[in-house]
Symmetry: D2
Subunit: 336 residues, 4 copies
C-alpha cells in the first residue's frame, strides 16, 4: 500500500501517518520527493484492508494498493496455464470445449433427447440443472436429487461427463456423488461458505462471474476455492448487468483477454445467459472462440417452446448443429 500525502501536508501529519501505519502492524517506508511525501506501508499480510483507513487521515491525498489481492489465482503462483479435467475432457488445453444441455433437468426423456443432440453435435460435456436458483419462489425450483440421478444415468449412457449447479454448502457432498463438475452460479459467486465447501471437493468447479462482479472480485472468489485446496477451477464470463436492456445482460467479451492476462485458470463464455435470446447465441459463441476463450457453455433443448425455464435462450437441435459447424470453421484458423 502506498500512502500519498498532500503537497502541503505538515511534518506532524506525516509523522502521525507513520505512527499509525506502525501501530496497525506494518512497516512505514517514507520517501520525500520534491513536491510531496509518499509513505509505503510494508508487511507480509496480504489483507491490507485496515490500511484503507489511511485515506481519512489528515494530510493524506490518497492511498493506493500495490499487491494484487489474489495470489494463488495469479500467474506468479503457477507457471503456464492450468488444464482442468472433467472426466476425460480437458478444459484450458489446445481443444475448444463446448458444454451443452438444457437449463433444467425436467425428465429422463428430456435429458436423454438433449444428450443425444449434444453428443451428435460434437460437444464434450453435458449440462443440466437439478437445483435452480430462481428469482421467484413461484418458479420451478428443480428436480433436486431425482434430477441428479437422471443426470448421472444419462451422462453415462451418452458417454459425456456432466456439470450441474450446487446452491448450498449442505448439498455439495450429494451433488459431487452424482456429477463430474460442480457449478457455482452467478448469484453465488460471493457465497463464501459455499466457496469454502467446494474448495474441499475432489470435483472441478465451474465458477461463474456474477452479473455485478468485477474481474478482480471473480478472482478473489476463485482464491477462496484455491486457498481451501481445490486447484481445478474454470472461470466463466456470463454477462454483466448494465443500463442496456436490449439483451438480458451485457456479455463482457473483453473479460476473456483480461483474465488470460491475470490468471492461469481456464476461461469460458456463457452466451445463453448473457443474451437471454437464442438468436444471439451463435454470433456470440463465434465471438467467444475468436477472442480466445477456452470454451463455451450453451443451453440446448429438444423443445425450447415447452422448456420449464430459459426457453427463450435455448437453441433448438438444428441451430445447435449449425453453431458447432461454425465453431469448427473458426477453430481451424485460430492459433494456439
Amino acid at each position: 500500500m502506498i500512502i500519498i500525502m498532500k503537497s502541503h501536508a505538515t511534518k506532524k501529519q506525516i509523522e502521525d501517518v507513520i505512527s499509525w501505519v506502525e501501530s496497525v502492524g506494518y512497516r512505514a517506508h517514507p520517501s520525500t520527493g520534491v513536491e510531496r511525501t509518499i509513505i509505503g506501508a510494508i508487511g507480509d499480510k496480504r489483507d491490507k484492508e485496515i490500511l484503507q483507513y489511511a485515506e481519512t487521515l489528515p494530510g493524506v491525498e490518497k492511498t493506493m494498493p500495490i499487491l494484487k489481492p489474489y495470489k494463488l489465482a495469479s500467474h506468479e503462483a503457477h507457471e503456464g496455464n492450468t488444464e482442468v479435467s472433467v472426466g476425460s475432457i480437458k478444459i484450458g488445453g489446445p481443444e475448444f470445449v463446448v458444454i451443452a444441455g438444457p437449463c433444467a433437468i425436467e425428465s429422463k426423456e428430456q435429458l436423454l433427447k438433449s444428450a443425444r443432440v449434444v453428443k451428435k453435435g460434437g460437444a464434450q460435456v453435458l449440462r443440466g440443472g437439478a437445483y435452480k436458483p430462481r428469482t421467484s419462489p413461484y418458479s420451478f425450483q428443480g428436480m433436486e436429487e431425482d434430477g441428479l440421478k437422471i443426470l448421472k444415468q444419462v451422462g453415462m449412457k451418452a458417454k459425456l461427463p456432466t456439470v450441474t449447479e450446487v446452491v448450498s454448502p449442505a448439498d455439495v457432498d450429494l451433488v459431487e456423488s452424482y456429477a463430474d463438475m460442480l457449478q457455482i452460479g452467478a448469484r453465488n459467486v460471493q457465497n463464501f461458505p459455499l466457496l469454502k465447501k467446494v474448495g474441499h471437493s475432489r470435483r472441478p468447479v465451474l465458477l461463474k462471474r456474477g452479473m455485478m462482479t468485477t474481474i478482480e472480485e471473480l478472482l478473489m472468489s476463485a482464491e477462496y476455492i484455491l486457498s481451501e485446496g481445490n486447484p481445478n477451477i474454470v472461470l466463466c464470463e456470463r454477462g454483466i448487468r448494465t443500463f442496456e436492456t436490449a439483451t438480458r445482460n451485457t456479455l463482457d467479451i473483453s473479460a476473456v483477454p483480461v483474465l488470460k492476462g491475470l490468471t492461469h485458470l481456464p476461461v469460458i463464455v456463457d452466451p445463453s445467459h448473457a443474451a437471454g435470446d437464442w438468436r444471439y447465441v451463435i454470433p456470440l459463441s463465434r465471438a467467444a472462440i475468436a477472442v480466445g476463450a477456452d470454451g463455451i457453455i450453451v443451453e440446448v433443448h429438444p423443445q425450447p417452446e415447452k422448456a420449464f425455464s430459459d426457453g427463450a435462450q435455448s437453441l433448438k437441435p438444428e441451430k445447435f448443429y449449425q453453431l458447432m459447424e461454425e465453431l469448427k470453421a473458426i477453430t481451424s484458423v485460430m492459433k494456439h
Copy 2:
C-alpha cells in the same frame, strides 16, 4: 401477460401463438384492433416465465407482463404498513429507528464500548457482525459463535435488542438463539436456500438489497421469506453498483419512496456501506430521514482507526452523537 403481434402478422401466425399459449396451460384472449392483434394470456399461475418464450415466436412484436411477480410483499396483500418488532422496538411505525454498532464484533470490550455509545446517543438497536462475508479469504472472517455470545451479553447489559448477519442456512438456528433479528447481507439477497431457511425463523429479518439487485428483485427475495411464513421483514437500501467510484456504492435514495409505493414492509437505509467513507454518513443519514425512510443502520466504532473491518466508514463516538442530534431536529419537522 400480453402478447402484442406485429402489425403485419399473418392470420396463421396469430393462430399459432394462440395454440402455443393454450399448449402451455393458459387461456388465450385475443383482441383484434384496427392496426394489430393483442393476445392476453390468462391463468392463475403467478409464475409466467414460460410465456416469455412468446417473444421469439414468428409475428410477435413484444410481450409484456402485467401482474407484479410478487404478491405477499405488495400493498394488495396487506392493508396499511407492517410494523416489525425487534425486541421492544417497532420498525415501520411512527418512530424513526437507528440501528448502530461496529461492523464486526472484535472483543467483548470493543462491543461494550460501542454499545455504550449507541445507547448514550439514543439509538434503539445494536448491530455487530459475527460472520463476516469478505471479498478476500485473507480478511478477518468474524468471531463466529464466540461473537454471538458477546453480542447477547452486551445487548442484555445495554438493554438494546440486537441484529447480526447470518450467511449460511446451517447457521440460522444458532444465530437466532443469540440475536433478536437476523440480517441477510447484500451478497446473499438471492441466496435462495438461506432465504427459505429464515422464512421459517421466528426472528424478524433485515433484508439488504444487493448491489446488483433491482427493486423488483429485492421484493421477490422478500417474497421468498414471506411465502415460507415469516412476515417480519425490514428492507434495507445500502447502495448499488454504478460507474461512479467517488463513493463505494451509489446510495439509491429514490428506492425509499419507490418501495413505499410498492410494499407494506418497512424500509431503512444503510449510509455507511453505501458511501464507504464516514465523512458522508451524516449528510446521507439526514437525506434518509428526509426522504421518508423508517430508520437507518450505521457503523459506529470506539476506535475506527483500529477497526478490523470498515474502519473508514465507521463513525467515531462524537460524530455519532452529532448525527443523532441532527436526526432529532429533522424528525421534529417531518410529518407522519
Copy 3:
C-alpha cells in the same frame, strides 16, 4: 504521476522507464524501496495524459495520477465557497434556492400561469426551455427565439430571474440576450465547443451532470468554463444511468457532499429529471435540502396532463405549494 514497478522488474526496465519519462518532457524521481522501485514523474503540465502510456511498458505494475486534473474548480483555487448571482438571487449562500417552471415554454399564457405559481410558492428563479434536446426528431423541439422572448417578458412581469438551456455555440449570444442564466443540459456536459463558448459569456452557467458523467468529469467540464474566464457556475446533480429502471435515472444524492468536499462551486439537485415521476419529486427534494444542497430545480406545470414534454414528472400547482412548505420546515432546522 507515480509509476510503480513490478517487484521483479529488472534494472534495465527501470532505466528504460526513466529514459522514457524524460523523453516526453518530465523529470523522473525514482525511489527504491525494500521490495520495489517507484518512479515519480514530475512536471508542471497539468495534462499528464501521455504518462498513462507507462502502464504498458515492460516491468511496470501500474501507474497512479496524483494531481487532481482540475485546478480552478478545486478548493485550492478559491477560499470559501463561491456564491453565484442570478439577477438579485444568490446561489451558494445561506439561502436555499428553488428554481421552478415548466420543462418547455409552450405559450405566453402557459408560462405566465407557471410563473404565478412559482412566485406564489416562494421560489426564486423561473425555468423554461426554448431549445429542447429531444431523443426523437419527431418530438417537440422547442419554440426557440419566440420562446426566449416570452421567457424574458414573463420573467420581468413576475419579477423572477430566468434560466434556460442553450444547446449550440451559435445560439449563446442570442440566449444570453434574453435570459439571466444559461443552462448546459446533461447531454451537453462534454460538448466542449459549447463549454468554451459559455466560458466567454457574462451570464452565470447552470451545468448539469450527464447521466453517465463521473463527478470528476463534471468538474473537468466546469474547468473548461472556468479556464475561459467565466467563474459563475452552479453544478447540478440530476440522476445517473444505472441498471435500475424503477426511476428514469438514479439520483446520486451522495454526489452533493462529495462535490462539496472537492469544489467551491454551488451544487443543486434536479429531482424531476432524476425520478421522471412527479410522485417522487417531493421526497427527493426533501432529501436534497437535508443532504446539504444549495438548491433544487423542479418542473412545475399548470396542467401537466397537457404538457408538451415531461408531463409525467411535473408538479401540479398544489403539489408545488406543498413542496415549498415542506422545504421551509426542514430549512428551519438545518445548520449553515
Copy 4:
C-alpha cells in the same frame, strides 16, 4: 401505446383515461377482458411522448409503447442492407472494412508514416483527428484546419479515403471540404444540432454510440440524420460505461447482432476506445469480425510511446500487421 388498467379500476377511471387520451389527440380503443381493461391509444404521430403521462392517472397499472420510435433506421423502411460508400470503399457489403490511423493528427510526417502502415497492412480507410474532444481543457485539442489539410494531402498521396471527427455544427462545412467521411464521436451522439447539420451533408457519417447511450437511443440519433436527408450512416459500437474498470469501457459485442436485427445500416466496432489498452485490441477485433460486424476502426501510431493522445491504446505497426493477418484468416471462414 397500450394503457393497461388495474384489475380493480372503476368504470369512472376507465372513462377518464379514455377522455384524456382523446383530449390529447389520439383515438382510444378500449378492450375489456375477463380481468381488466386495456386501452389502445392510436394516432399517426410517431411521437407519443405525451401518452407517457397516462402512467400517473388513477386506475392505470402501466403503459407500454408499441411502435419502435425510429422508422427510417428500421428494416421496414429499407429492404436489404444499406451499403455506405466512402470514396471507392463500400461499408456494409461483402467486404470487411478496416479503418485505421492515429487518434490525432500531430504532423504531416506522423500521418504519412501512419498512412503507409495502414496501406501496407491492407486497411481501406484512413482515420485521424483534427478536432479532439478532450475531458481536460489542458489536453491537446487537435490541429484543427491545419490537421484537415494534412489529412487530405496524405489521404490522396496514400490513395486512402479519410474519416475525421467533427465536433461543432459550425465546422461541418469546413470538415466536409477536406474529408471523405464525417465522424460523430461518442460524446456528441446526442448533440442534436450537430446531428441535424450532418443530416444535410453530402458526406457519409460514422456515428459512434455514446458510452451512455442505449441501442435504441443510438438508432434515434441515426434517425435525426436520416430524417434530415442523409441516408449514408455507419453505426459504431465503441464500448459502454459499466462498473467494470479493468478496461476503459465495456465493449458491448452483443450490440452488433442486436443492431443487425433492428436496422439496415452497417455496424462496425471500435476495439481501441472500448479497451483503452492495445493489448486487447487484437482479440477484440477478432471477436468483432466473428460476431458479424461490417468492419472495425482501430488506432495505429508509428510511435505510440510518443503519441499526443491515446498512446496506450494504439497499435504499433508490427502489431497492426499481425491484426490484419488474423482478420484475413477469420474472414476466409466466415459466411456472408
